[in-house]
Symmetry: C2
Subunit: 297 residues, 2 copies
């Protein structure tokens, strides 16, 4: 795959998606640029969805939304360095209908089909929301000598449903966290926590780690992620398939697929849309523009 | 008890606590005024604690903190009507060491003693944090014809430990939600949700309700709250003691005792202090000054 080496910026990645040159997952593309999950809802659900994000900022960190209902090219940013600072613009040339490599369409709370663009589905009362993605801190992990294994292997991150309930908000009841998983050596977990801590708008530090953590999340089979690729060991075997790899444990972060799950649980009427898990919209803003200095680690 | 009828304002309630005229719980006092939980930590834990609140805004809505380390009379407010508006001042004459009716002192992660003021314990590097309290919306519930039963009975709200994990933040790992419980008729739960929804900085709408909700929270015995008073039926019997009261279910909100539990789990060094559960610091700001219009219910 040669495309990724060319896709060093958010704009290049969005344009490649827009022209359908890029239809694969985006982990590792445009290093240090923020990546975003997309969820698109009928306007009548927008205020409840904002509240869902406000009450569950770790799995659902709201970065931006359509500046007016129906808008897919102008966004109101909610990303601030501090609560009192001005919002940071996210992207100068963006089209929410085309700029993810792949999308899912939901009808009556179920996945109806997978598409490469939303042009024929987007209606005048649709509101698009961008949610932070943990791909945004993978470059920082690599720079700290802790590259996520799936990026080294050019695979998608494994994602899991959990039994950890979201705080409900209006119509959004019964939802649970979705998490992404990256395996690390036990002795590296504290540094992994420190490196990712400052990325508050892209899930921040892990929510759980180790086998105790997996159990508390209610993950029944670590070898079977609901989305993304099965994690492989450095030898290319299925991770955790033959008992524990010595000294390696799963580390779990909040995941921006959570809102799509919440939408399914809520059984909303009408057409709901989102990116396909792992196939993100990449933004212009870079991590050092959005977050405080790197922790001293 | 005649005191409560005199205590119609935040200042009156704080002065009564300050002079030790008031040493009982504060539910129902100073109707429509915001009430706050207190947690006081050595400065070295302050940034991790802020992050804990940011990641867990439903149980830990951060209202304000000491404006400088050691300060107990001047606060920096974090309470805003909207993310971009200016912070709302909380109280003009406040002393965090004296203005709760009762306090707990923690040493080495355990409750060491209960005191009526913190004057002899507060050190130069202590930082005080005020966290929103669900007493703040009880007046709104009463105005909507849904008075919480414990306020009608002049009792403290029952509070429970749960198994619902907090999102960890720095040294704060292993914490779980604490919840307050108010019984309501099943058919009133949606209105109760609507009335409390706008109180985003004082726990907002419930996080769980019904017997399914209690089970998801891991509450083993609804008849035995860890803090506060056992809930009574309208006939004065122990609530839920003899099977279910027909049509009545428990409704659970995030509770500001959560940070004190988180501190105990984290086993922090040094002296940590908090209000005694139910014995809050009452503020000058009123609910209509802090939150959007009452939902149309």
């Amino acid at each position: 795959m040669t495309i990724p080496t060319l896709l060093q910026t958010g704009l290049a990645t969005r344009l490649a998606s827009r022209t359908q040159t890029l239809t694969s997952q985006t982990s590792g593309l445009a290093p240090s640029h923020l990546q975003a999950n997309l969820i698109v809802l009928p306007q009548r659900y927008a205020s409840d969805f904002r509240l869902l994000c406000q009450r569950n900022p770790v799995p659902c960190p709201l970065l931006a939304e359509s500046s007016t209902p129906g808008s897919f090219t102008t966004l109101t940013s909610h990303l601030r360095r501090t609560p009192s600072s001005v919002p940071i613009p996210l992207a100068s040339d963006i089209d929410l209908r085309h700029d993810a490599p792949k999308y899912l369409i939901y009808r009556d709370g179920k996945v109806a089909n997978e598409v490469t663009d939303l042009a024929s589905h987007w209606e005048a009362d649709h509101v698009g929301f961008l949610i932070g993605c943990s791909y945004s801190f993978e470059d920082a992990l690599a720079s700290a000598g802790l590259p996520p294994r799936h990026t080294v292997q050019g695979r998608n991150v494994p994602m899991y449903r959990t039994k950890l309930p979201l705080c409900p908000a209006g119509v959004f009841t019964g939802g649970t966290y979705v998490v992404s998983m990256r395996p690390y050596r036990i002795e590296d977990v504290e540094r992994v926590r420190e490196v990712t801590r400052r990325y508050v708008a892209t899930h921040g530090e892990p929510i759980a780690w180790g086998w105790d953590g997996a159990r508390r999340l209610g993950i029944e089979d670590i070898r079977r992620p609901e989305w993304g690729d099965v994690s492989l060991t450095e030898d290319g075997k299925a991770e955790f398939a033959e008992g524990l790899e010595e000294g390696v444990v799963p580390v779990f972060w909040g995941c921006g697929v959570t809102p799509q799950e919440a939408v399914m649980r809520a059984g909303l009427d009408g057409t709901v849309m989102g990116h396909a898990p792992g196939h993100m919209i990449v933004l212009d803003v870079k991590d050092h523009e959005a977050f405080d200095e790197v922790s001293k680690v």
